[in-house]
Symmetry: C2
Subunit: 311 residues, 2 copies
């Protein structure tokens, strides 16, 4: 039987899934730490591929969803902030040299939109914007049933668009990006700053406080925590309005842990979206959906990438 191996490489974990050529449900899945006992990410990638390699049958292709700025044409990770040392790292060649099968790589969010559009929350739509809101904010766009890649596969860095000039500093070092205001760590950072400024909160602050804990406090009625999500949602709404005016889609799919807070984030998002939209014509037939595949969207998208190339 023919098999495909798909990877989703994150800053914390690397996940691998083994698919046969008939099904989008993986036969097997493994997860390991991205860095472990002195092993670097690239070593762990080799380990996880060996682990998931089928005993019988043929692996026809490997596809990897990778974080950061990915040149999928050349197969290079230009920069991945969360993986130390990955600057102009030739990931595709690196895996191909070891395993001698065709390897494809893509940015994780751009592969996730492919998965959600082909099999998930955006299926049936021809023009889709996908945003994953978690530690970072990633973006993927479908235009006329094609993933927007750009000239070198570096398009749709939607989280790294400026929504507030001279605003908070982003993980990438730039100021005022959507990710620097509406991602999980950005929400946590805002709450910490406000508490440091003397704003009252029911939260017991720790250095490691997460947006999930802030969401829980908001659900209990903590005003600072509610306002932190309002701020994140407001800028998310501004960004989504911009993306709608740029792409005129029929579907927006939201994934990532922060979007799971539901109305806490999305009510202010939709409020500002309605206020700043150029015309009701842009939104009257617009679906706003929640990603179906969650953490697996990148793996499913990697599988679609392989199938699209007939590998």
């Amino acid at each position: 039987m023919d098999y495909y191996i798909c990877l989703d490489i994150g800053g914390t974990n690397i996940r691998a899934a083994l698919f046969n050529n008939k099904d989008i449900h993986p036969i097997k899945q493994i997860k390991i730490k991205t860095r472990s006992e002195g092993l670097k990410a690239e070593g762990q990638i080799i380990n996880i591929i060996k682990d998931i390699w089928p005993i019988k049958g043929t692996v026809k292709a490997i596809a990897a969803a990778a974080p950061g700025f990915v040149d999928s044409e050349k197969g290079i990770i230009i920069k991945a902030v969360n993986i130390p040392g990955w600057e102009n790292f030739p990931l595709q060649k690196y895996i191909q040299d070891k395993f001698k099968v065709p390897v494809l790589i893509g940015n994780d969010a751009r592969l996730a939109v492919l998965g959600e559009w082909k099999y998930g929350a955006a299926r049936g739509h021809h023009n889709v914007i996908y945003l994953t809101i978690s530690t970072g904010i990633g973006g993927g766009v479908i235009i006329n049933d094609q993933v927007l890649m750009g000239s070198r596969g570096m398009a749709t860095e939607l989280g790294h668009t400026i929504v507030l000039p001279n605003g908070p500093i982003c993980s990438c070092g730039q100021a005022g990006h959507l990710e620097a205001i509406s991602s999980g760590p950005a929400i946590a950072r805002y709450v910490q700053q406000q508490v440091n400024n003397g704003v009252q909160s029911s939260l017991k602050l720790t250095a490691q406080i997460t947006s999930k804990e802030i969401a829980e406090a908001a659900f209990r009625g903590d005003e600072l925590c509610i306002s932190a999500f309002e701020r994140a949602g407001t800028y998310l709404g501004i960004a989504i309005a911009n993306f709608i005016h740029i792409f005129n889609p029929t579907c927006i799919t939201l994934g990532g842990g922060v979007s799971l807070t539901g109305d806490l984030l999305l009510k202010p998002t939709k409020k500002v979206l309605n206020e700043v939209i150029l015309s009701n014509e842009y939104i009257k037939d617009l679906s706003i959906t929640t990603a179906e595949f969650g953490d697996n969207a990148g793996l499913i998208g990697a599988l679609v990438l392989i199938k699209n190339r007939d590998l």
Copy 2:
């Protein structure tokens, strides 16, 4: 012989060009006022088409470049701020009913990018962003040799993306749009406000002052006027950086009167672009070109629209 009639409908003038089926240079061109002696724009459109209609031969199709928010699928002008009364105006059907030939309509900037990409400053590129900076700021985008239209042909309203939340009010009524900061009238408005606030300038201010006069004063060394273009250029640079991170193009083509001021606008644009770009990889092979067709880009684009449909 077979002919095509192309129109470019503006807030001030309507221009018509007659093409044969062999050449992109018009056989004949006419320009009339958009409104004249009580005649509305729609009446003037009929007049100019009658005027340019060839005595012999067959008109195979008419295509019109129109301002504002255009639903090119349904053939409707959703809203054109500069043409009173044009709200959900069925322009395509209106012309078709009178002249009984196939009619296509498109947003002027989206047609202009088609013209510049097919025959002008962006030819040979596969991924292009076009911005026309004049009374308004219009945008057009080519992705893999296709114009980005969106689900209803309402995409790439690049001038109506928010670059400064709660910033100056735009012609469309929204706040903080690129057009509200970097268009000609926005530059003039900023200078007027600064003078009203007591800032010194060599300019003799009138209510009708234009960005062209401000550019001339800037070239003479007027500091306020220089700073007005610096401000416009800075936000233009922020917007262009966003568009580059969204589209990863190889060519940016700038048209419109304000872009003719050259370095006055573009030096601060390029400065900020270099500062805020995510990686040099996005810009090292990027061409920034000046539109070749000027005012004719929309007419040429309308012709390409007809040719693409084999009409």
